[in-house]
Each structure stands twice: as structure tokens, then as C-alpha cells.
Amino acid sequence: MSWIVTGSGAVASIGSDTDEIYESLVAGRSGLAGLRGYDRGKFRAQVAYEIDDRPAPGVDEPLRATRWLERAVEAAAREAGLGDDLSSVPVLVGTTLRELRSVELSWRDGTPVEVADLHFGTMLRRRFGAADTHTVANACSASLYALALATDLLDLGQADTVVVAGVDTISESTYGLLDRCYPEAPDRVRPFDRARRGMLQGEGAVAVVLRREADGPGPGATVQARVRGVAVNCDAYHPSAPEAKNIAAAVREAHRRAGVGSADIDLVMLHGTGTPLNDEAESAALGSVFAGVEPSPYMTAIKSMTGHTAGASGLHSLVAAVDVMRRGSVPPIVGLDDPVESVAGFRMVRGQAVRPEEELRIAQIDSFGFGGLNAVAIVERYAGDETAGGDGAAAVREEGR
């Protein structure tokens, strides 16, 4: 079975909608800035990829993540022709940190916070009338894990339309502990660069509307992309360090579910956090999966501009991939000046965006999280002359194998 994306919405430090985000990515524009909401005297690291919407410099407020999620879901639902009524649509929200930043403010400063706002169903019910809502706290692969669950719901006939979302804000506890972990404070996210110093967090939200391809996009909507398959697994190995072998297994399973081979992949949206452990595990896994594929797919890592948007990051990469395939330019990995040896055989996009002459048709999206949670999605460009559910779609699918 395959599924179609009929709406998308996103916010991040580099843009307040999917168009702005794509344009920033292609222009190599980063959201990196000095810390906006924390007391900078408490940290060695001084920068992050925050959304600039606080009431005043240095002043933080609760429920920012909830606010961004609302905007992303609203945009995706409108594009999909669902309007503001999601009362019969399941909404799955992937997140690492939920509203734990609000909990921090409540505990430390006494800022009032309602327990019911810790999960996102409360806002989704109030704002969209949604009741079949699920907050999936699956660390930094959460939104792609949620995408896998959505494909299962559609497969099993449990729903006809599903909203899949991701959202995260930066919590001070994670920011401080990451600061404590790295030998030097990271100055920016530099995936696969020899000068990388570690990961810096980013903020944002993202949502897509998913349906079975056979059912078509529904009234008032168009098809933005085809999801071919999503694989998930768990390393069961270490609470924070990734395992290359199991990442490779997830990638291979995603290819198998999608009915594609390594040589069919045109674009890889790397997880690419700029931490040595993650970068090395990912490049080792991809080295084995793409061995013998010459040239390799184009590879890019948008965290170099968005920061690590945690639970939202997988779906941020997916929406970016859809726009890249539709609009033709592949964003660069900003700050990748001196690539590590392990990516020497890969076509990493560096310096500035590239605009390949050949059509980019199939993208692989990597997303890995704490607890060894791996999720990999395969997404296909949906050509304008295709009719969802019709013979055209089937023909393109056959050709892709």
C-alpha cells in the first residue's frame, strides 16, 4: 500500500511556513542566534536555533510548543481541505520534550501550568475538536515514528485520514546537560565536519495530512507527495548512543517496505546532528547500504540551519524533502567545510544549493533518537499529471522498482 500527503505545515527558526522554510534552506540561511529565553550566565554554550517569539528578551513563557503545533496543524489541515474540524480525524503528535519547558517554569519560577496541557490533546480538542489524539514521546525520531503509526492506522482501515505532527521546544534541562556533556561548547551544528563540536537544539513544529493513495486526496486538496514506506525499530543497546548495525537494518527495511533498492534513492535527508557518535553511526550505516551505488544519492542535513528540532526533526526533513523534489533545489549542509573521512564517497551538498538536471524522484529520510529509536521513511515525488488511485500512479510505481 502507499499513502499520499495532502497537506503540510511547519514553523521553525528559519521560517513561519513551509515556503519560508524551503527558501531559507535553499539560501543557506541559518536560524542560529544568541540564547533568547535563558540566563546566559548559567551556560557555556551561548547559542541555539530558537523561534523568536518570546514576550521580551530573556523572558520565557509556557506553552510555546503548543502554540507552534497549533499553527502547523492548522496550515496542514487547511491545505488538505479539512478546515478547522478534526473531530473525526486521528492526530498523532511526535515529541521529545512535550511541554516539559512549561514544567520547568512552573517548578522553578512558580509559573502556573495545568497538568492537562502536558499532552497536546488538550489544545487539539479545544482548537480543532479532535478527540482521537495521541502524544507519542519517542525522543528525536518521534514524528517519523508517528508517521509509521499513521500508515498502519490507514492500512488497517482504522481511519481514512490522519494528521501526523511533530513539535519541540528547547528545555533548559536538556540544554544544560548537553552543555555538560560536550568537551567544548558547540558554536553551531556542523554535521559531518571535522570541526563539529556537538549538537545544538532547535525549535519548531510540523504537520502533514496523510491518506491512502487509493482513496485520493479528497475534496479541495491536491497530492503533494507519496509515502512509500516507513520502518521503525529499536537498538536495545544504549540509552543515548546509536548503533550503526541497527540503523542500517532500519534503512533496509524502509527500502523493502517501499519496494525500492539503494540505487533508486535520489536524495537522503540525513539525521546529521553534528555529534561524532551520531554522525559516525549514520555514515557507517549508509556506507553499507549504499555500497556500490555510484554516484551516491544527493545527501543533505537541514539541522545545519534549523538546529536539532528533536521530535519534530524527522517530519521537518520529510516536508523539506517533498519541497526539494517539487521545486528542484537541494539545500546545502551549511558549515560543512572539511568533511570527515567516513562520508568521502557520498555526494554531500556543500557550499550552496545544487539544482540537479535529473529529476529527484525518491527521497530517504533518516531520523534517530535516544533509546536507539530509529525511523526511516521513503517518500516519492508526486508528478502533477498523475491521478491518485488511477493507472498513472500504478505505472509510476512499477517503473520505480
Binding site: F43, L97, S106, G121, A137, A148, S171, S173
Partner: protein, 331 residues
């Protein structure tokens, strides 16, 4: 997928004073000064695990062992890839988050311990369960408010139904600590414990020669409690022999009115018995319901168990979930 039969094959609990799952059906509150269940854990690496993780490990191991999925060494008796993990918790890691932000305010980031980093992410419990027992299948953490436990049980069923895994360890856990108490100032009692069950396809249980204790029936999460219950009762109309009610059941219609015709047996308020258990409640309800179906139900009866969590329509929760457990068919 509604055609696939998913059954319960193992139960576990980690609740102070609770000897076995069957005691969830008794009227006696766990009393005295009983041993802390996490004292059952031995070995290295416990120092940096949070309370929720330790409680979940105790209940999870008990359920896996009861289902015959792990041997005496804790390693799986089936391929690790075939076993998924689903955890439900709302307050699991708020202690780490609150302690860390207070430490930073006092001593800057230098005062923190890097060993606490994994526990700032809400999936830390599921992560340790998988690592401890080599469970390499899909691994989910639901933090979904008061319905979360029942939602988790249903997601476990969907993971089996979709073919991603053959069996799933489901754990509901909530710790009691100052951070949790801070977040729920209106509560005067706090649950501290975990409940666990193993779900698998009936075919998997039969192939392993394991006796199913109960079978999962329909599930729904709806805006109103009455609609959630009506939805599952429509699909499973057999008489309800046991109803496990949500936290704060005051505003909910009497079972006779909302459950339709047929005899209604016992009503269990596990929140009254053990304290409000939030994300653990749905899993506790399923453990109690399974224990009832496997042992305490009247002989020859074909009654089912209804569990509902979250009240939705009374305004306390964003939604209500309902799930039915049915007697296991003999293979």
C-alpha cells in the same frame, strides 16, 4: 485487522503492598509498611535510573517471565526483533527535569550530572526496558493524559495487527515524588507503581504453547465518555461483568444507563484503591480485568470487562477512552 485476535499472556505489577495482580480485585488497600518493589532489582547501573524506570523494570520483568518470553537470565526466548515495547506515563521523568533546572539555577550547568541526560527525554523508561531484555521491535512511549494507559494497550495491539511485531510488552507507570506533587496540588493521594502486560497474537501464543488469559476487544477514544463506551459496546454487546472506571467517576452516568441492557456486575475504582494513577491507570485496569477473566469470573459466564479512562465530557479531560477485554477462547 479487527480479524486478528490479540491476547494477554502475562501480567506484572510493582505496587507497594500488592502481592499479585489478583489483589487488584480485592477490597483491601495495600496496607502496613510493605517492602518497596524496586528492592527486587539487583545489579549495577541502578544509580542513575529514575524511579519510574525502576518500577517499570520490576513490573515488566514479571510480565515477560509470566508470559514465558524471557528466561532466568532475563534474555528473550524469542527473537528480540519480534518483541515491541509500549510505555504509558505522564509524570515519568518530571523529577529529572525539575531537579536539573533547579540545579542549573543554583550551580549553573556545571552542577549537573551528564548521566541524567537520557532521563530528560520522556522515552527513558521504554528505552531501559528494551535494553534490559533485548527488545528490538517497535518501541513507543505514550504520554497522553488520563487515557494514556488504554491508548498504549491499543497501540500495542496495532503494532501486532500491522505485523511490525509479534508480541509487545506494555507498561503503565507513574512515580510519586515532589515534582509530581507540585504539578497536581489538588490531589491528596499519589500512586507510585507500575503495571505490565504482554500482548501477542493468538497465533503466536498458540505456537509457543502459552495459555491466553484474556483477549482484547474493541477500543475507542472519543470526546465524550458516553460515546467512547457506546462505541465499544456496539461492537462487543456481551454483558459487562466488571467495569473499571476512570479517575473521578462522579460525573459519569451509571453503568446501567450508559452500558445498555444486560447484567452489570462489579464496578472497580482502582484510583480509589491505589490513588490516582494517571498514565498507569489503563494498564492497571487491563491487569485487573485479565485477572478477573482468568480467575474470578463466575464459572460458565461469558461476561466481558469494560475499562474506561478519562472522562472527557465532564470537562476534566480532553477525551475518554474505552476498551473491552473478553474471555480467552480455548485454542
Amino acid at each position: 485487522m479487527s480479524r486478528m485476535h490479540v491476547v494477554v499472556t502475562g501480567l506484572g505489577t510493582a505496587v507497594r503492598g500488592l502481592g499479585n495482580p489478583g489483589e487488584l480485585l480485592g477490597d483491601r488497600r495495600p496496607g502496613g509498611v510493605p517492602a518497596d518493589p524496586v528492592e527486587r532489582l539487583t545489579g549495577r547501573g541502578l544509580r542513575y535510573k529514575d524511579r519510574a524506570t525502576k518500577l517499570a523494570m520490576v513490573a515488566g520483568e514479571e510480565a515477560l517471565a509470566a508470559a514465558g518470553l524471557i528466561g532466568a537470565d532475563g534474555a528473550p526466548t524469542v527473537p528480540g526483533e519480534s518483541v515491541g515495547t509500549v510505555v504509558s506515563t505522564n509524570f515519568g521523568n518530571v523529577d529529572t527535569v525539575c531537579e536539573t533546572v533547579a540545579t542549573i539555577a543554583r550551580d549553573t550547568y556545571l552542577g549537573t550530572s551528564p548521566m541524567l541526560l537520557p532521563a530528560t527525554s520522556s522515552n527513558v523508561v521504554a528505552s531501559w526496558l528494551a535494553i534490559t531484555h533485548g527488545l528490538r521491535g517497535a518501541n513507543l512511549t505514550l504520554c497522553n493524559g488520563r487515557t494514556s494507559g488504554l491508548d498504549a494497550v491499543n497501540w500495542a495491539r496495532l503494532l501486532v495487527g500491522s505485523g511490525r511485531v509479534e508480541r509487545v510488552l506494555v507498561v503503565g507507570v507513574e512515580p510519586d515524588n515532589p515534582a509530581v506533587r507540585h504539578l497536581a496540588p489538588e490531589q491528596d493521594e499519589f500512586f507510585d507503581g507500575a503495571a505490565a502486560l504482554v500482548l501477542e497474537s493468538a497465533a503466536s501464543a498458540a505456537a509457543r504453547g502459552v495459555r491466553p488469559l484474556a483477549e482484547l476487544g474493541p477500543y475507542a477514544r472519543r470526546a465524550e465518555h458516553t460515546r467512547a463506551v457506546a462505541d465499544v459496546r456496539e461492537r462487543e454487546p456481551r454483558a459487562v461483568g466488571l467495569w473499571c472506571v476512570p479517575e473521578h467517576p462522579e460525573g459519569i452516568r451509571a453503568p446501567g444507563a450508559s452500558l445498555g441492557p444486560g447484567p452489570v456486575g462489579g464496578v472497580r475504582d482502582l484510583s480509589e484503591l491505589l490513588g490516582p494513577s494517571s498514565g498507569a491507570l489503563g494498564v492497571l485496569q487491563c491487569v485487573a480485568g485479565t485477572a478477573w477473566l482468568a480467575g474470578a469470573a463466575p464459572d460458565g459466564a461469558d461476561d466481558v470487562v469494560l475499562a474506561s479512562a478519562g472522562t472527557g465530557d465532564t470537562g476534566r479531560d480532553d477525551a475518554a477512552a474505552a476498551l473491552i477485554l473478553t474471555p480467552a477462547r480455548s485454542a
